[in-house]
Protein backbone atom coordinates (compact mmCIF):
# COMPACT_ATOMS: atom_id res chain seq x y z
CA UNK A 1 0.00 0.00 0.00
CA UNK A 2 1.22 3.50 -0.77
CA UNK A 3 2.16 5.61 2.18
CA UNK A 4 -0.05 8.55 3.00
CA UNK A 5 2.38 11.42 3.32
CA UNK A 6 1.73 14.18 5.84
CA UNK A 7 0.48 17.46 4.40
CA UNK A 8 1.78 20.69 5.87
CA UNK A 9 -0.37 23.77 5.28
CA UNK A 10 1.55 26.55 3.47
CA UNK A 11 -0.90 29.20 2.34
CA UNK A 12 -4.53 30.05 1.79
CA UNK A 13 -5.03 30.64 -1.92
CA UNK A 14 -8.70 31.52 -2.15
CA UNK A 15 -11.38 32.38 0.38
CA UNK A 16 -15.07 31.82 -0.14
CA UNK A 17 -15.50 35.39 -1.37
CA UNK A 18 -12.53 35.24 -3.71
CA UNK A 19 -13.81 31.99 -5.19
CA UNK A 20 -17.23 33.51 -5.81
CA UNK A 21 -15.64 36.53 -7.53
CA UNK A 22 -13.45 34.29 -9.69
CA UNK A 23 -16.44 32.21 -10.76
CA UNK A 24 -18.46 35.36 -11.48
CA UNK A 25 -15.66 36.71 -13.66
CA UNK A 26 -15.33 33.40 -15.51
CA UNK A 27 -19.09 33.35 -16.11
CA UNK A 28 -18.85 36.81 -17.71
CA UNK A 29 -15.85 35.77 -19.80
CA UNK A 30 -17.74 32.70 -21.05
CA UNK A 31 -20.71 34.84 -22.08
CA UNK A 32 -18.44 37.36 -23.78
CA UNK A 33 -16.41 34.79 -25.69
CA UNK A 34 -19.47 32.80 -26.79
CA UNK A 35 -21.57 35.90 -27.49
CA UNK A 36 -24.33 34.95 -25.08
CA UNK A 37 -25.67 31.68 -23.74
CA UNK A 38 -27.18 30.31 -26.95
CA UNK A 39 -25.92 26.86 -27.81
CA UNK A 40 -23.85 26.84 -24.64
CA UNK A 41 -23.55 23.89 -22.24
CA UNK A 42 -21.46 23.26 -19.13
CA UNK A 43 -19.89 19.86 -18.50
CA UNK A 44 -18.19 19.17 -15.17
CA UNK A 45 -15.56 16.50 -14.61
CA UNK A 46 -16.28 14.28 -11.57
CA UNK A 47 -15.92 15.00 -8.67
CA UNK A 48 -15.30 18.69 -8.08
CA UNK A 49 -15.67 19.84 -11.66
CA UNK A 50 -19.38 19.10 -11.36
CA UNK A 51 -20.29 21.73 -8.73
CA UNK A 52 -18.09 24.25 -10.55
CA UNK A 53 -20.02 23.62 -13.80
CA UNK A 54 -23.26 23.85 -11.86
CA UNK A 55 -22.36 27.21 -10.30
CA UNK A 56 -21.12 28.65 -13.59
CA UNK A 57 -24.36 27.56 -15.28
CA UNK A 58 -26.41 29.29 -12.55
CA UNK A 59 -24.35 32.48 -12.80
CA UNK A 60 -24.63 32.54 -16.60
CA UNK A 61 -28.37 31.94 -16.23
CA UNK A 62 -28.69 34.91 -13.89
CA UNK A 63 -26.86 37.23 -16.32
CA UNK A 64 -28.42 36.03 -19.56
CA UNK A 65 -31.92 34.81 -18.55
CA UNK A 66 -31.01 31.50 -20.09
CA UNK A 67 -29.33 28.80 -18.03
CA UNK A 68 -27.07 26.50 -20.06
CA UNK A 69 -27.69 22.76 -19.61
CA UNK A 70 -25.41 20.82 -17.28
CA UNK A 71 -23.58 17.56 -17.86
CA UNK A 72 -21.44 15.35 -15.61
CA UNK A 73 -18.48 13.49 -17.03
CA UNK A 74 -16.67 10.56 -15.45
CA UNK A 75 -13.29 10.07 -17.09
CA UNK A 76 -12.20 6.89 -15.25
CA UNK A 77 -12.63 4.59 -18.25
CA UNK A 78 -10.53 7.00 -20.35
CA UNK A 79 -7.55 7.38 -18.00
CA UNK A 80 -4.17 6.69 -19.58
CA UNK A 81 -2.79 4.99 -16.46
CA UNK A 82 -5.41 2.25 -15.96
CA UNK A 83 -2.96 -0.47 -16.97
CA UNK A 84 -0.34 0.80 -14.51
CA UNK A 85 -2.04 1.91 -11.33
CA UNK A 86 -2.23 -0.49 -8.42
CA UNK A 87 -5.52 0.81 -7.06
CA UNK A 88 -8.93 0.55 -8.63
CA UNK A 89 -10.69 3.86 -9.26
CA UNK A 90 -14.43 3.97 -8.66
CA UNK A 91 -16.31 4.35 -11.93
CA UNK A 92 -19.14 6.87 -11.77
CA UNK A 93 -21.96 7.53 -14.13
CA UNK A 94 -21.53 9.98 -16.96
CA UNK A 95 -24.70 12.01 -17.26
CA UNK A 96 -24.91 14.33 -20.24
CA UNK A 97 -28.67 14.61 -20.74
CA UNK A 98 -28.57 16.66 -23.94
CA UNK A 99 -27.25 16.31 -27.47
CA UNK A 100 -23.73 17.77 -27.55
CA UNK A 101 -23.56 17.89 -31.35
CA UNK A 102 -22.90 21.45 -32.61
CA UNK A 103 -22.93 22.80 -29.04
CA UNK A 104 -20.36 25.09 -27.44
CA UNK A 105 -19.19 23.02 -24.50
CA UNK A 106 -17.33 24.46 -21.55
CA UNK A 107 -15.52 21.66 -19.78
CA UNK A 108 -15.10 22.49 -16.08
CA UNK A 109 -12.60 21.17 -13.55
CA UNK A 110 -11.18 22.35 -10.26
CA UNK A 111 -7.42 22.10 -10.84
CA UNK A 112 -5.45 21.98 -14.08
CA UNK A 113 -2.13 20.22 -13.49
CA UNK A 114 -0.56 17.65 -15.83
CA UNK A 115 -3.40 17.98 -18.35
CA UNK A 116 -3.99 14.23 -18.37
CA UNK A 117 -7.45 14.48 -16.86
CA UNK A 118 -8.42 17.07 -19.47
CA UNK A 119 -7.07 14.84 -22.22
CA UNK A 120 -9.20 11.97 -20.91
CA UNK A 121 -12.20 14.30 -20.60
CA UNK A 122 -11.82 15.38 -24.24
CA UNK A 123 -11.80 11.75 -25.34
CA UNK A 124 -14.81 10.94 -23.16
CA UNK A 125 -16.67 13.96 -24.54
CA UNK A 126 -16.06 13.35 -28.24
CA UNK A 127 -17.34 9.78 -27.80
CA UNK A 128 -20.69 11.38 -27.00
CA UNK A 129 -20.85 13.49 -30.16
CA UNK A 130 -19.21 16.32 -32.06
CA UNK A 131 -19.47 19.71 -30.37
CA UNK A 132 -18.71 22.88 -32.36
CA UNK A 133 -16.25 24.06 -29.74
CA UNK A 134 -14.87 22.65 -26.52
CA UNK A 135 -13.44 25.18 -24.07
CA UNK A 136 -11.81 24.53 -20.73
CA UNK A 137 -12.55 26.36 -17.48
CA UNK A 138 -10.59 25.67 -14.28
CA UNK A 139 -10.60 27.23 -10.85
CA UNK A 140 -6.81 26.87 -10.41
CA UNK A 141 -4.04 26.36 -12.97
CA UNK A 142 -0.99 25.12 -11.10
CA UNK A 143 1.32 24.50 -14.06
CA UNK A 144 3.49 21.41 -14.75
CA UNK A 145 1.69 20.35 -17.92
CA UNK A 146 2.67 17.02 -19.43
CA UNK A 147 0.48 17.49 -22.50
CA UNK A 148 -0.15 20.40 -24.88
CA UNK A 149 -3.33 21.58 -23.13
CA UNK A 150 -4.28 25.02 -21.84
CA UNK A 151 -7.35 26.48 -20.17
CA UNK A 152 -9.57 29.12 -21.78
CA UNK A 153 -10.81 30.41 -18.41
CA UNK A 154 -8.71 30.38 -15.25
CA UNK A 155 -9.82 31.41 -11.76
CA UNK A 156 -6.28 31.78 -10.51
CA UNK A 157 -2.84 31.00 -11.92
CA UNK A 158 -0.81 29.46 -9.14
CA UNK A 159 2.88 28.67 -9.65
CA UNK A 160 3.63 25.57 -7.60
CA UNK A 161 6.37 23.03 -7.11
CA UNK A 162 5.64 19.37 -7.70
CA UNK A 163 6.06 18.70 -3.98
CA UNK A 164 3.10 20.92 -3.27
CA UNK A 165 -0.53 19.89 -3.13
CA UNK A 166 -3.47 22.11 -4.09
CA UNK A 167 -6.66 21.32 -2.20
CA UNK A 168 -9.93 22.70 -3.47
CA UNK A 169 -12.98 22.53 -1.23
CA UNK A 170 -16.44 23.27 -2.56
CA UNK A 171 -19.59 23.94 -0.59
CA UNK A 172 -21.76 21.22 -2.11
CA UNK A 173 -19.10 18.51 -1.67
CA UNK A 174 -16.96 19.61 1.28
CA UNK A 175 -19.23 22.02 3.15
CA UNK A 176 -17.06 25.08 2.48
CA UNK A 177 -15.46 27.07 -0.35
CA UNK A 178 -11.67 27.36 -0.16
CA UNK A 179 -8.41 26.69 -1.98
CA UNK A 180 -5.30 25.93 0.04
CA UNK A 181 -1.69 25.08 -0.72
CA UNK A 182 0.06 22.29 1.16
CA UNK A 183 3.58 20.92 1.14
CA UNK A 184 4.04 17.19 0.99
CA UNK A 185 5.99 16.38 4.17
CA UNK A 186 8.41 13.48 3.89
CA UNK A 187 7.97 12.24 7.43
CA UNK A 188 4.56 10.80 8.23
Amino acid sequence: MPINPALVHKASIMTEQEMQRALTRIAHEIIERNKGADNLAMVGVHTRGVPIAERLAKLIGSFENQEPPLGKLDITLYRDDLSEISVQPIVRKTEVPFDINKMNIVLCDDVLYTGRTSRAALDALVDLGRPSIIQLAVLVDRGHRELPIRADYVGKNLPTSKQEVVKVKLESVDGEDSVDLYELGLGA
Partner: protein, 333 residues
Protein backbone atom coordinates in the same frame (compact mmCIF):
# COMPACT_ATOMS: atom_id res chain seq x y z
CA UNK B 1 -8.96 15.70 -11.71
CA UNK B 2 -10.10 15.89 -8.12
CA UNK B 3 -8.78 18.38 -5.67
CA UNK B 4 -5.56 16.83 -4.47
CA UNK B 5 -2.39 16.58 -6.50
CA UNK B 6 0.93 15.16 -5.44
CA UNK B 7 4.23 13.92 -6.79
CA UNK B 8 3.60 12.72 -10.35
CA UNK B 9 6.71 10.57 -10.40
CA UNK B 10 5.20 8.35 -7.75
CA UNK B 11 2.21 7.04 -9.58
CA UNK B 12 0.83 5.16 -6.57
CA UNK B 13 0.83 8.17 -4.32
CA UNK B 14 -0.74 10.23 -7.09
CA UNK B 15 -3.47 7.74 -7.81
CA UNK B 16 -4.20 7.32 -4.14
CA UNK B 17 -4.46 11.02 -3.57
CA UNK B 18 -6.50 11.92 -6.64
CA UNK B 19 -8.91 9.09 -6.89
CA UNK B 20 -11.61 7.56 -4.84
CA UNK B 21 -10.72 3.90 -4.96
CA UNK B 22 -12.83 0.84 -4.34
CA UNK B 23 -11.98 -2.13 -2.21
CA UNK B 24 -13.36 -4.71 -4.62
CA UNK B 25 -10.16 -6.35 -5.73
CA UNK B 26 -10.61 -10.04 -6.29
CA UNK B 27 -8.19 -11.57 -8.74
CA UNK B 28 -10.56 -14.30 -9.90
CA UNK B 29 -14.30 -14.69 -10.13
CA UNK B 30 -14.77 -18.37 -9.29
CA UNK B 31 -17.90 -18.05 -7.22
CA UNK B 32 -19.49 -15.39 -5.03
CA UNK B 33 -18.85 -17.05 -1.67
CA UNK B 34 -16.38 -14.48 -0.34
CA UNK B 35 -18.24 -11.41 -1.63
CA UNK B 36 -19.72 -9.05 0.93
CA UNK B 37 -22.88 -6.99 0.71
CA UNK B 38 -20.87 -3.81 0.20
CA UNK B 39 -18.94 -5.40 -2.64
CA UNK B 40 -22.17 -6.38 -4.38
CA UNK B 41 -23.58 -2.87 -4.03
CA UNK B 42 -20.35 -1.26 -5.25
CA UNK B 43 -20.34 -3.70 -8.14
CA UNK B 44 -23.86 -2.65 -9.14
CA UNK B 45 -22.79 1.00 -9.17
CA UNK B 46 -19.93 0.13 -11.52
CA UNK B 47 -22.43 -1.80 -13.64
CA UNK B 48 -24.62 1.33 -13.83
CA UNK B 49 -21.71 3.21 -15.41
CA UNK B 50 -21.13 0.37 -17.87
CA UNK B 51 -24.85 0.20 -18.74
CA UNK B 52 -24.62 3.88 -19.52
CA UNK B 53 -21.79 3.22 -22.01
CA UNK B 54 -23.99 0.66 -23.79
CA UNK B 55 -26.70 3.30 -24.31
CA UNK B 56 -24.42 5.65 -26.23
CA UNK B 57 -23.96 5.98 -29.97
CA UNK B 58 -20.34 4.93 -29.52
CA UNK B 59 -20.56 1.84 -27.32
CA UNK B 60 -16.90 1.57 -26.56
CA UNK B 61 -14.43 2.88 -23.99
CA UNK B 62 -10.65 2.40 -23.92
CA UNK B 63 -10.44 1.11 -20.34
CA UNK B 64 -8.98 -2.32 -21.16
CA UNK B 65 -6.87 -1.34 -24.16
CA UNK B 66 -3.99 -3.76 -24.59
CA UNK B 67 -5.56 -6.51 -22.47
CA UNK B 68 -6.32 -9.89 -23.97
CA UNK B 69 -9.25 -11.98 -22.81
CA UNK B 70 -9.67 -15.62 -23.83
CA UNK B 71 -13.00 -17.41 -23.77
CA UNK B 72 -12.64 -21.12 -23.04
CA UNK B 73 -15.97 -22.86 -23.51
CA UNK B 74 -15.72 -26.60 -22.94
CA UNK B 75 -19.52 -26.68 -22.82
CA UNK B 76 -21.93 -25.07 -25.26
CA UNK B 77 -23.35 -21.64 -24.75
CA UNK B 78 -24.91 -18.96 -26.89
CA UNK B 79 -25.76 -15.97 -24.76
CA UNK B 80 -23.04 -16.25 -22.14
CA UNK B 81 -20.14 -16.53 -24.56
CA UNK B 82 -21.41 -13.75 -26.84
CA UNK B 83 -22.15 -11.55 -23.87
CA UNK B 84 -18.63 -11.95 -22.42
CA UNK B 85 -17.04 -11.24 -25.80
CA UNK B 86 -19.22 -8.19 -26.35
CA UNK B 87 -18.32 -6.93 -22.87
CA UNK B 88 -14.59 -7.38 -23.48
CA UNK B 89 -14.69 -5.56 -26.82
CA UNK B 90 -16.80 -2.72 -25.44
CA UNK B 91 -13.83 -1.92 -23.22
CA UNK B 92 -11.34 -2.28 -26.08
CA UNK B 93 -9.84 -5.57 -24.92
CA UNK B 94 -8.79 -8.12 -27.52
CA UNK B 95 -10.58 -11.45 -27.51
CA UNK B 96 -9.29 -14.88 -28.41
CA UNK B 97 -11.93 -17.53 -28.53
CA UNK B 98 -11.81 -21.24 -27.96
CA UNK B 99 -14.65 -23.69 -28.48
CA UNK B 100 -14.09 -27.29 -27.44
CA UNK B 101 -15.85 -28.82 -30.44
CA UNK B 102 -13.51 -27.35 -33.05
CA UNK B 103 -10.29 -27.66 -31.04
CA UNK B 104 -7.37 -29.99 -30.48
CA UNK B 105 -9.21 -31.27 -27.41
CA UNK B 106 -10.96 -33.56 -29.86
CA UNK B 107 -7.48 -34.81 -30.81
CA UNK B 108 -6.81 -35.77 -27.20
CA UNK B 109 -5.08 -32.65 -25.82
CA UNK B 110 -5.60 -32.20 -22.10
CA UNK B 111 -7.25 -29.14 -20.57
CA UNK B 112 -3.95 -28.21 -18.96
CA UNK B 113 -2.03 -28.32 -22.24
CA UNK B 114 -4.79 -26.37 -23.95
CA UNK B 115 -4.53 -23.68 -21.28
CA UNK B 116 -0.74 -23.52 -21.43
CA UNK B 117 -0.85 -23.21 -25.22
CA UNK B 118 -3.22 -20.26 -25.05
CA UNK B 119 -1.33 -18.82 -22.07
CA UNK B 120 1.76 -18.50 -24.27
CA UNK B 121 -0.20 -15.85 -26.19
CA UNK B 122 -0.08 -13.43 -23.23
CA UNK B 123 -3.63 -13.65 -21.97
CA UNK B 124 -4.79 -11.47 -19.05
CA UNK B 125 -8.03 -13.28 -18.24
CA UNK B 126 -9.82 -16.50 -19.10
CA UNK B 127 -13.56 -16.93 -19.20
CA UNK B 128 -14.16 -20.61 -18.54
CA UNK B 129 -17.19 -22.85 -18.81
CA UNK B 130 -16.97 -26.55 -18.12
CA UNK B 131 -19.37 -29.39 -17.49
CA UNK B 132 -17.42 -30.42 -14.37
CA UNK B 133 -17.56 -28.49 -11.11
CA UNK B 134 -14.22 -27.08 -9.99
CA UNK B 135 -12.44 -26.79 -13.35
CA UNK B 136 -12.10 -22.97 -13.09
CA UNK B 137 -10.53 -23.39 -9.63
CA UNK B 138 -8.12 -25.94 -11.03
CA UNK B 139 -7.06 -23.60 -13.85
CA UNK B 140 -5.92 -20.95 -11.34
CA UNK B 141 -3.02 -23.27 -10.44
CA UNK B 142 -1.71 -23.35 -14.00
CA UNK B 143 -1.77 -19.69 -14.99
CA UNK B 144 -1.12 -16.25 -13.51
CA UNK B 145 -4.05 -14.79 -15.43
CA UNK B 146 -7.44 -14.07 -13.89
CA UNK B 147 -10.00 -16.85 -14.17
CA UNK B 148 -13.66 -15.98 -14.60
CA UNK B 149 -16.14 -18.77 -14.10
CA UNK B 150 -18.82 -18.77 -16.80
CA UNK B 151 -20.50 -21.84 -15.29
CA UNK B 152 -18.96 -25.00 -13.89
CA UNK B 153 -21.14 -28.10 -13.64
CA UNK B 154 -23.88 -27.61 -11.10
CA UNK B 155 -21.62 -25.58 -8.83
CA UNK B 156 -21.56 -21.91 -9.70
CA UNK B 157 -22.45 -19.34 -12.37
CA UNK B 158 -21.51 -16.06 -10.75
CA UNK B 159 -22.08 -13.63 -13.64
CA UNK B 160 -25.60 -14.97 -14.20
CA UNK B 161 -26.46 -14.41 -10.54
CA UNK B 162 -24.92 -10.94 -10.66
CA UNK B 163 -27.02 -9.99 -13.66
CA UNK B 164 -30.17 -11.50 -12.14
CA UNK B 165 -29.69 -9.48 -8.98
CA UNK B 166 -28.77 -6.39 -10.99
CA UNK B 167 -31.99 -6.75 -13.00
CA UNK B 168 -33.96 -7.03 -9.76
CA UNK B 169 -32.24 -3.93 -8.43
CA UNK B 170 -33.22 -1.98 -11.56
CA UNK B 171 -36.85 -2.73 -10.77
CA UNK B 172 -36.86 -2.33 -7.01
CA UNK B 173 -33.99 -0.05 -6.12
CA UNK B 174 -34.98 3.31 -4.75
CA UNK B 175 -31.31 4.12 -5.26
CA UNK B 176 -30.98 3.86 -1.50
CA UNK B 177 -28.16 2.07 0.28
CA UNK B 178 -29.72 -1.36 0.46
CA UNK B 179 -30.29 -1.73 -3.28
CA UNK B 180 -33.92 -2.62 -2.62
CA UNK B 181 -33.25 -6.24 -1.59
CA UNK B 182 -33.95 -6.08 2.14
CA UNK B 183 -37.01 -8.09 3.13
CA UNK B 184 -37.93 -9.13 -0.44
CA UNK B 185 -38.95 -12.64 -1.40
CA UNK B 186 -37.51 -14.49 -4.39
CA UNK B 187 -38.93 -17.80 -5.62
CA UNK B 188 -36.78 -20.08 -7.77
CA UNK B 189 -38.86 -22.82 -9.37
CA UNK B 190 -37.57 -25.76 -11.37
CA UNK B 191 -34.63 -28.14 -11.55
CA UNK B 192 -32.75 -26.86 -8.50
CA UNK B 193 -30.59 -29.97 -8.21
CA UNK B 194 -28.65 -29.36 -11.41
CA UNK B 195 -28.73 -25.58 -11.29
CA UNK B 196 -25.54 -23.62 -10.79
CA UNK B 197 -27.64 -20.51 -11.38
CA UNK B 198 -29.76 -21.32 -8.32
CA UNK B 199 -26.69 -21.92 -6.15
CA UNK B 200 -25.05 -18.63 -7.11
CA UNK B 201 -28.33 -16.76 -6.74
CA UNK B 202 -28.92 -18.11 -3.23
CA UNK B 203 -25.66 -16.54 -2.09
CA UNK B 204 -26.26 -13.12 -3.61
CA UNK B 205 -29.94 -12.72 -2.65
CA UNK B 206 -29.42 -13.79 0.95
CA UNK B 207 -26.27 -11.69 1.35
CA UNK B 208 -28.30 -8.66 0.23
CA UNK B 209 -31.08 -9.37 2.73
CA UNK B 210 -33.73 -11.13 0.64
CA UNK B 211 -35.45 -14.42 1.42
CA UNK B 212 -35.19 -17.23 -1.12
CA UNK B 213 -37.72 -20.02 -1.61
CA UNK B 214 -36.62 -22.98 -3.71
CA UNK B 215 -39.35 -25.04 -5.35
CA UNK B 216 -39.43 -28.18 -7.45
CA UNK B 217 -40.14 -31.91 -7.42
CA UNK B 218 -38.64 -33.65 -4.37
CA UNK B 219 -35.99 -35.44 -6.44
CA UNK B 220 -34.76 -32.14 -7.88
CA UNK B 221 -34.76 -30.23 -4.60
CA UNK B 222 -31.59 -31.01 -2.58
CA UNK B 223 -32.17 -30.61 1.15
CA UNK B 224 -28.63 -29.45 1.82
CA UNK B 225 -29.47 -26.08 0.27
CA UNK B 226 -31.78 -25.24 3.17
CA UNK B 227 -30.23 -22.61 5.45
CA UNK B 228 -30.94 -19.26 7.05
CA UNK B 229 -33.35 -17.32 4.79
CA UNK B 230 -33.54 -20.22 2.32
CA UNK B 231 -36.58 -22.49 2.46
CA UNK B 232 -37.63 -25.46 0.34
CA UNK B 233 -41.11 -26.37 -0.81
CA UNK B 234 -42.84 -28.70 -3.28
CA UNK B 235 -45.74 -26.30 -3.69
CA UNK B 236 -45.48 -23.65 -6.40
CA UNK B 237 -48.37 -21.76 -4.83
CA UNK B 238 -46.51 -21.55 -1.54
CA UNK B 239 -43.29 -20.46 -3.27
CA UNK B 240 -44.89 -17.79 -5.41
CA UNK B 241 -47.20 -16.34 -2.76
CA UNK B 242 -46.16 -12.73 -2.07
CA UNK B 243 -42.92 -13.10 -4.04
CA UNK B 244 -41.28 -10.02 -5.57
CA UNK B 245 -39.49 -12.09 -8.18
CA UNK B 246 -40.13 -15.53 -9.59
CA UNK B 247 -37.39 -17.26 -11.52
CA UNK B 248 -38.21 -20.33 -13.58
CA UNK B 249 -35.46 -22.85 -14.32
CA UNK B 250 -35.22 -25.36 -17.15
CA UNK B 251 -35.28 -29.11 -16.60
CA UNK B 252 -31.68 -30.05 -17.35
CA UNK B 253 -32.47 -33.44 -18.85
CA UNK B 254 -28.99 -33.77 -20.33
CA UNK B 255 -27.70 -33.95 -16.74
CA UNK B 256 -30.38 -36.32 -15.49
CA UNK B 257 -29.29 -39.93 -15.21
CA UNK B 258 -32.93 -41.09 -15.44
CA UNK B 259 -35.73 -41.66 -13.01
CA UNK B 260 -35.53 -38.14 -11.55
CA UNK B 261 -38.43 -36.81 -13.55
CA UNK B 262 -41.52 -38.78 -14.64
CA UNK B 263 -42.16 -36.62 -17.73
CA UNK B 264 -42.07 -33.00 -18.84
CA UNK B 265 -45.84 -33.17 -19.27
CA UNK B 266 -46.31 -34.13 -15.65
CA UNK B 267 -43.77 -31.52 -14.54
CA UNK B 268 -45.51 -28.69 -16.37
CA UNK B 269 -48.89 -29.64 -14.94
CA UNK B 270 -47.63 -29.34 -11.37
CA UNK B 271 -44.77 -26.83 -11.48
CA UNK B 272 -45.22 -24.53 -14.46
CA UNK B 273 -45.00 -20.84 -13.62
CA UNK B 274 -47.90 -19.23 -15.48
CA UNK B 275 -50.41 -16.39 -15.36
CA UNK B 276 -52.64 -18.34 -12.98
CA UNK B 277 -49.82 -18.94 -10.48
CA UNK B 278 -48.41 -15.44 -10.69
CA UNK B 279 -51.68 -13.99 -9.36
CA UNK B 280 -50.55 -15.17 -5.93
CA UNK B 281 -47.36 -13.11 -6.13
CA UNK B 282 -46.73 -9.54 -5.04
CA UNK B 283 -48.36 -6.89 -7.25
CA UNK B 284 -44.98 -5.71 -8.53
CA UNK B 285 -43.58 -9.21 -9.02
CA UNK B 286 -41.15 -9.65 -11.90
CA UNK B 287 -40.64 -12.89 -13.81
CA UNK B 288 -37.12 -14.04 -14.62
CA UNK B 289 -35.53 -16.86 -16.56
CA UNK B 290 -31.78 -17.33 -17.05
CA UNK B 291 -32.31 -19.17 -20.38
CA UNK B 292 -32.35 -21.31 -22.36
CA UNK B 293 -36.11 -21.37 -21.97
CA UNK B 294 -38.44 -24.26 -22.73
CA UNK B 295 -41.73 -22.53 -23.32
CA UNK B 296 -44.86 -24.22 -21.96
CA UNK B 297 -42.73 -26.51 -19.77
CA UNK B 298 -41.28 -24.53 -16.84
CA UNK B 299 -42.89 -21.27 -17.90
CA UNK B 300 -45.93 -20.38 -19.99
CA UNK B 301 -45.29 -18.42 -23.18
CA UNK B 302 -47.90 -15.90 -22.13
CA UNK B 303 -46.00 -15.10 -18.95
CA UNK B 304 -42.57 -15.14 -20.59
CA UNK B 305 -43.74 -12.50 -23.09
CA UNK B 306 -45.98 -10.66 -20.65
CA UNK B 307 -45.47 -7.34 -18.94
CA UNK B 308 -44.02 -8.83 -15.75
CA UNK B 309 -41.27 -10.55 -17.72
CA UNK B 310 -37.76 -9.08 -17.48
CA UNK B 311 -36.17 -11.94 -19.43
CA UNK B 312 -34.94 -9.75 -22.28
CA UNK B 313 -33.69 -7.19 -19.78
CA UNK B 314 -31.65 -9.98 -18.13
CA UNK B 315 -29.92 -10.71 -21.42
CA UNK B 316 -29.30 -7.00 -22.05
CA UNK B 317 -27.85 -6.57 -18.55
CA UNK B 318 -25.43 -9.42 -19.17
CA UNK B 319 -23.11 -7.13 -21.11
CA UNK B 320 -22.70 -4.28 -18.58
CA UNK B 321 -22.45 -6.79 -15.73
CA UNK B 322 -19.61 -8.61 -17.50
CA UNK B 323 -17.96 -5.30 -18.36
CA UNK B 324 -17.99 -4.49 -14.65
CA UNK B 325 -16.51 -7.93 -13.92
CA UNK B 326 -13.62 -7.33 -16.32
CA UNK B 327 -13.06 -3.84 -14.94
CA UNK B 328 -13.11 -5.08 -11.36
CA UNK B 329 -10.68 -7.93 -12.00
CA UNK B 330 -8.29 -6.36 -14.48
CA UNK B 331 -7.85 -2.72 -13.47
CA UNK B 332 -5.49 -1.91 -10.64
CA UNK B 333 -3.93 -5.34 -10.34
Amino acid sequence: MTSTQSIPSNIEVQAEAQTEVQALKHKHLLDLQDWTKDEFLQFFNTTDAMADVMKRTIKKVPALQGKTIATLFFENSTRTKLSFERAARAQSADVVSFAAGSSSLSKGESIKDTLLTIDAMQVDAYVVRHVSSGVPHQLTRWTDASIINAGDGRRSHPTQALLDAYTFRQEFNGFDDSGGFEGKKIAIVGDILHSRVARSNIKIWTELGAKVVLCGPRMLLPEELERKNVTLTNSVAEAVEGAHAVMALRMQQERMAGGLLPSLQEYSERYQVNDEMIKLAHDDCIVMHPGPMNREVEISSELADGERSVIEQQVANGVPVRMAVFYSLLVGK
